[in-house]
Structures are given as C-alpha cells and as structure tokens.
Symmetry: C3
Subunit: 356 residues, 3 copies
C-alpha cells in the first residue's frame, strides 16, 4: 500500500490488491454521494488530457463527466493533430511532448486500439513511453492489451449484483464495497461470434481482476483464439494464490455450468497482425466461420442464476441474444455506469492523491 499520487494506471495487475480495494471502496462511496461536497473540488480547475488515437463515445463521455464532477476540465485531444516524430517524418518526440504537458495538466488518459498499431503490444509500449517522461499519472482509456477502468467497473457491477446485500439477493444493488463478494464465484469468459474483430483489452483485464478478487475463471473459445499467454499465466497465478481454479475450454456450452458471471464477447485471434498490419477483414471472415458461440437464454439456464455482463457496445444477435442482454439478470447498464464512478476514484487517487 503506497502513495497513489502520480501512479500510472495501465493494468490492474500492476497495482497492489490493497490499492485496488481502496480505489473500489472510494468508487462505491462516490456512487452513493455523486455530487457530494467531499468530492466536488478534488481536481478543482485542473486539466485532464485525453488522447484519443481511437474514437470512442462511452469512454469519452464517462471520463469527461468524471473530470467535470471532480471540478476538473477534460480536454478531448486527437493526436492526429500532433506533429509527433515518426520513423518517416520530422516532428516532436514523446520526451518533449510529455514534459511540456506535465506543466499544464494533472493527468493524461490515452486510448489506442488495434487498428492504430502495427503489432500487438505497441499501444502498451506507447503508454509506457509517455509514463516514462510524464510525472503526472498516465491512465489507460483502453489500449491493445488492457482496459483497467473497465476492469474496475466490471468487479463493481458484479459485486453490486452478487454480494449478500446485492441485487440478486435483495432486488437492489449493493451500496458498499465488499471485497469478498466474488470469492468462490465462477466467471465464465467466452468468445463470441460476430463481425467486429474486437480488441483483447477488456476481456484480458476481466480475467486478471476477476481472479484477483477470488473468482474461479473459465475461458472458453474456439481453438486458435488464445488470449495473450502472459495474461493467461498471470490470471492462472492469481487463481492459484487464491486457491481457485483456472480452466480453458474449446466447448461453446460447457463453461456455463454453475457460472455466476457470464461474459461473452468477440475478440481477435493471435494471427490478426501479420507483416505490420491488422488483417481485419481476414479476422472477420474467420470469425464468421464459427457458429453456436452466441450467449443464449438456453445456455444461461445451466448457470447458477448467473448474471450477464458485457463492456459494451454489444453486438446484439451475435455476442448475445436480446433476451439475455435485456433480461432480468443483465448487469450491463450498471457496469457501464460504474465506468464513471471507478474513473472518478482513480483520478482522485492518482491525480490528486486523495487516498494518500
């Protein structure tokens, strides 16, 4: 447990469990007292720079709202208008850009996804290059490898539903952070069909943070759709540490058995990048070859009254049926709302040292 001021937030796995607990506790409190005077001026008149290499609506809306609610101003910046140095053209180095931005702002969010890079991992490298030169915290707003703010929103939502005081038991969301609520619960993360060639960031973050909070984890996907081996190894280690199980299956239905949380989502295969390029169309065609990987009410019947989760936007009809996505056990809108509260807590902690 250390000082969180200036701490980068690139992957939840790099944060101590105690620090994640502190931030999640704050996020729950902020949700209960959204415009409470305690929080209104934590970042009064400060700047949060948002670098959107990739466009986004939800991420922008939630970060920009988070900044506003803490008294800050979020600048929506599209780095295409930055004259950064590249192998091919004159321009500014990250060394220079980051050190100047440090003079103006209290935090830097970066979003860079699969189609803005030439190989898996380059987005992560870029975030770490900024983090190296900037004193202010660098916060991932989703990048090729991880999506730590989505991870926080996920576990918040699952706790709200699964805790003893939660929605499944009482009909209303749990209002306080219960770090043990997910212990021994089974998370099924399953690949889903669809024509989207989606990033790995959300799903990889989900198994990392789910396993940190004591869940049994099952990952289901067709052969050839493995997640990043380093991420799988880390999640497995988290499960071992907590005495929980970690399994991979290539069966589209088996993993539902006894699950408490079902997370179905399309993602790209490890072959998506070749010769410095994302083969999006090939990936989409390959994915279309797999049928039966939609989350349906029939499959959900095998769960232990499981809830349905998804980071949105959902590709309804492919990733999940309307019946499940809009059904009584769908926590999708609660999870989406939690993006706001989780991000407020992270920004307060890392930009203002609110928890130090």
């Amino acid at each position: 447990m250390g000082n969180l001021k200036y701490k980068d937030f690139i992957c939840t796995q790099e944060w101590a469990k105690e620090d994640l607990d502190r931030v999640l506790k704050l996020a729950f409190e902020m949700k209960q007292d959204r415009f409470g005077s305690k929080y209104l001026d934590i970042l009064f008149r400060k700047q949060f720079f948002m670098f959107f290499y990739n466009p986004s609506v939800r991420t922008r809306q939630s970060f920009e709202a988070a900044a506003t609610e803490l008294g800050a101003h979020a600048q929506f910046l599209e780095p295409k208008s930055m004259r950064l140095k590249t192998a091919k053209s004159a321009g500014e180095t990250v060394e220079d850009a980051a050190q100047v931005m440090d003079r103006y702002a209290a935090g830097l969010g970066i979003r860079i996804l699969e189609d803005k890079i030439a190989a898996y991992g380059q987005g992560d490298d870029l975030l770490r290059e900024y983090a190296k030169w900037a004193k202010m915290p660098v916060i991932s707003m989703a990048h090729d490898k991880f999506h730590p703010c989505q991870g926080l929103a996920d576990v918040m939502g699952w706790i709200e539903w699964l805790a003893p005081q939660g929605k499944l038991a009482t009909g209303t969301l749990a209002t306080t952070f219960d770090p043990d609520a997910l212990k021994g619960k089974k998370l099924l993360l399953t690949w889903a069909q669809g024509a989207l060639c989606r990033s790995l960031c959300s799903v990889q973050e989900a198994i990392l943070i789910g396993s940190r909070y004591g869940m049994d984890v099952t990952v289901a996907h067709p052969e050839g759709y493995d997640l990043d081996p380093e991420v799988v190894a880390a999640a497995k280690m988290n499960c071992e540490t907590n005495d929980r199980t970690f399994e991979v299956t290539h069966d589209s239905a088996a993993g539902y058995d006894g699950a408490h949380v079902v997370y179905s989502r399309n993602w790209m295969s490890p072959e998506a990048y070749r010769d410095g390029e994302l083969r999006k169309q090939e990936e989409i065609e390959k994915a279309l070859g797999y049928r039966g990987w939609t989350c349906t009410a029939e499959k959900m019947a095998a769960t232990d009254n499981g809830i349905y989760t998804h980071p949105m936007p959902i590709d309804r009809g492919s990733e999940v049926t309307d019946e499940v996505a809009s059904g009584p056990n769908s926590c999708i809108y609660d999870v989406a709302e939690n993006r706001l509260h989780g991000q407020k807590a992270v920004m307060a902690a890392t930009m203002a040292g609110f928890l130090d």
Copy 2:
C-alpha cells in the same frame, strides 16, 4: 401546465402554451441577469451531451455557452465516432446507447439535418427513438422538421422589438416577457432565392410558434415550394384558434403589405429527396431559376414599419440585401443572442426542473 423536468423539446407545437410562456418568461429574466447567482448553479457539474450529426457553429456556441453559464459541461460529440448498429454493419442499438448515456448526463441535444438523412422525417424519427429510451430530456438542436430553440429565440426577439415597451416604440429592447405583444401582428415568411438548399426546420418552427402567439401568418413561395402539409395544417389551426388569418401566396411581393415581421429564407422543395437521397445540386439549380425573391428595402417599404428577421447564417445578396440585413429594423443579432437565453431556460426547465 405540467412538470417540465425530463420533458423532451422536439417541437414547440407539442408543448402547452402555458409551458412555452413559462420558459419564455424565464428566458427574459435570464437575459436581464445573465450571470445572476439564481441561475449559476442550476446544472452544477452536470453533463449536457451534444450530438452533432451535422456541424454547426452558432448552435454549438450558444448551447455550449448556455451549459457553462448554468454550471454544466457540454460535451461536443460527433456520432460518426459512435459504432451504432445500422442495416449494414454491426454496432450498438439506440436502446443501449441511450440507456447508458442516461447514467452519465442530464440532457441530450441532437442536431441532424437534411444531408445526413435519406428522406424527410428520418431525423425527427431518430430524435424520438432516443427520447423513447432516454429518461433525460432530448432537445432538438435543429433537425429536418423542427428547430424549437430557434422558435423561442424568434418570438423573444420579435417581442423585444414589437412590444409597447420595445425597440420600435422606445429605442431599446423590451426587457420583460409580454405574451400579448405579437397578437394581431402580421408575420410574413417568404421563400428566398439562393444556392443553399436549406432545411425546413427553422421556417416551419417559425410559423408554428408565431401562430401560437396570435400572429397573422402569410407564407410566400414559388409554386412547388410547399412546406410540410402537416405543419401548415397545424399553423392554420393555431391561427383559427386565435381568430387570426393564415394565407399562402405565390407572389414574391404581395405578402409584404402591412407586415410587422418579415422573415425571408431559402428552403428546399418537397422534391428534394428522391430514391433515398438528397438531390442537393438539382435543388440548387432549380432555385436559381427564381428571381425577384430577395428581400429588399423597396419591398420592406410596403410593410407597417416591419422588422427583418432571419435565423442566420444569412446568404446576403440572395436572401436579403445588405441594406435591409444591416439596416435599422434588422433584429437578427438580437434574435441570435436569444438562442443563448432561450436555451438556458429550456435546459434549466427540462434538465433540472427549475420551473416545477
């Protein structure tokens, strides 16, 4: 007269006259005390999402200023960066997008004009689809059919000039809302030549709200430039209810006789859409065939010391001469300013329930 919190503002015609009165009264008060402490925190730290399917400068400037002056933050969003589901591609449904946005924001403005739709009415449909799923109010920032905020600004400006305490009588703008100031005054809405193929939204809103406030209405246009028949029918009904006259003429000069307010503007014909496409170039060429439809000082001489109004931007030289647009009876800048005050009043009423 009902609660206005959460009430959508898609067309003034759908609001009770008493509610329009209340909002206009507030708008006048807000104009007199622009940074008054009563109003500064009505939307403190809240979000207003602005969806600009079509770009705009004045609308953005006035809405973003309105949000700021009420303590809110307006997010400038371009839906092209939203991955919405379409007939042709995977993406998010309005059902999902709207329900998530409801968690983040207190209001949603949408602007969608003629060239972003395939047929007249589709923009209006989109606003109503968002309104169906979002609890927060949906406010039109101009769409294919209506422009309710422009309508408020128009009548505010006309009252400021025509009221007994107004500019024509006293040399300074009326400072309070006088709901009877326009009763029995004659509004001439006249088509104007020009190469712009302009939307119907502003002019349709003008005859709807003008007739609500007791004006005689004359609409002048070349044959083949009819407004939406449903709008014409509603305006006619408004006039009948108020015992006023409603006329249509195809003469470019006759309507000026005795007019108190002259509104000249180019608009597209009902043939503008064909086979799911806006035939903009055809419309422009057709419009160029009509001469003599410019508002001139000579024509204005036939009015009853009439004022000149236009929602801007003006196509000077085609829609109106410089002599009239920059002349002593031009209320264009006052009307433009009123966009700000009217929108502040609408946002306060519908997003915060300030008048409930």
Copy 3:
C-alpha cells in the same frame, strides 16, 4: 498606458511597452500563485472561442488550461465547420459571424498558419477583419505573421534564466518580473535546417519583443531566407531606440559569439508562396540544400554561457542536437510552461479588464 479591456493582441509591437510590462508582471505573479483565489474567478463562466484553422496541440492545451484556471470555458472550434462566405460559395460574412459571437463570448482566439492561406499576410488580414467587427478582444493563437503569446513566453523564460536572481546565477528560476533583465543581452536568432517549411510567426515575434526589452539582436540565415522586411525594420528601430545593435549575418556560426540567448529554428523563404499557393515541397527541398545550420554544443561554446530557447515542437537533430536541447542551459520547457501563464495574463487583461 491605457485600458486593456477589449484590446486585441495580434502583435506585441502594437502594444505600449508599459502595457507589456503590466501583463508580464501579472504573468509572473500568476505563475507563483497558479491556483490563487485572486485569479480563479476572473472569467467565471465566460466563454473563450478558439478558432483553429490549423490544428495544434500545445497552443490548444495551454489556452484551454488558461481559460479553465480563470474560471472560463474554452470552446475548441474548427472553422471548416463554419459556412463562411467565400469568393466561390454562399455563406456567412465575418461581419455577421463576429457580431453574433460577441453576444456569446468574452474573447476570440484565432490560429491560422501558412498552409491555410494563399499568400503571406492573409492570416493577419483575417484576424484584423474579425477584430474590426467584434468588440471582444481578438487574440492571436499564432498566425502567418506573428505569435504574440509565444513572444511573452519567450521573454518570461529568458528573464527567469538571465535575471540577477535567475537560474544561471542562482540555480532557480527568477520569480518576479524584472523589466531590465534582458538589457544588453545578446539574442541570436538563427535559421536552422530541417524538412518542415516552418512559419515566420514565432521568430518574427521574438526579435520584435526581444528588441523591445533592450537586447542586442543578431539574425543569422542563409541568403534568400530574409524575414518580413517590415518586421526587420521595426526590430531595428526598437534596437536604435534602446541604443542596441541589430545585425544580420549569413554565416551559420559567427552569430554565436558572446550570445546570451540562442534561438535556432527553421523557417520558410520569401519565395514560399507563388501563384496563390504555398510551395511546401519546394521549400523543403531547398532547405535540405543547406548544411551546418544545426545548433550544436560546439557552437554554443562560443556563447557567453548562453541559454538555448525554442518555441517547440523541436525538430531534434536538424534544428538542434539532443545534447543542447536536453542540456543544462536549455530553457525550452520553462518557456513552454510560460505560454500558460502569459496567456492567462493576456486573457485576464483583455477579456476582463483585470489590469484597468
């Protein structure tokens, strides 16, 4: 010394020396007390419109932060979405646009650089056209001729380093404005090689304001890279007024002798525009023909412990070596930070009359 409220800031040369002194003094004070209560609400809930004909990151970041820190809101506007009248198309006049914006905002920043104009001087003309119609101040955010906010940041930084209480003498930046700190110091402005075809705005502003503050000025460039003759004449006159020297040399090394401030930067030649077009590629090729115009540690050794300055972004390796740019005498990040403080002072003075 006059009222500064509503005063445009298009070039420092057009402001009285006493007024520049007052603004710089305020900028130093604001830097020492960045979030001090004296300054927080100077522009409370006001609007600052930023017109970016050219994109920018640093300028946007610093202006948007400046607005926030004074309590205002900065709107990022891209005039491509404005339907302005041009020789070829219908649209709005600056007369109309500016007079409406006056109703909404307290200040207007404009950035328009070399590739958005057809001939040198057209950007300057546009700013003055807006200034003619708008009562609110027009502030240059860099245009083809001048960059007054960069000029303020430059002299602030040079004073911070060169003053008797400054960084060179004491190891820490001077904290108060010393109007005499630059008297008799030698400024070398030298052209630098590179493939960027850069604007004249920053370098022209630098010799104007440097000479105002009593510096000896040497301008070094290859033959054919003359600055605007009117600017050179004005800088020469400033030097004469202060009994200082003004020299031009075509030697890439000689000017370093005894210099206190070295400013190396690429700029375009007077032949850059031909037939209403910027010949960027030709300029880049021409510039590549000159070697030996990089600022190096070897050259810096001839200075009088000179500091290195640059408005950024730097083209490292061409304009200056890493050794110098990241060396102990580089003031680049301090100068960059001063953009924020200088702009806050200008906005407070011209938009709110804070110094009147």
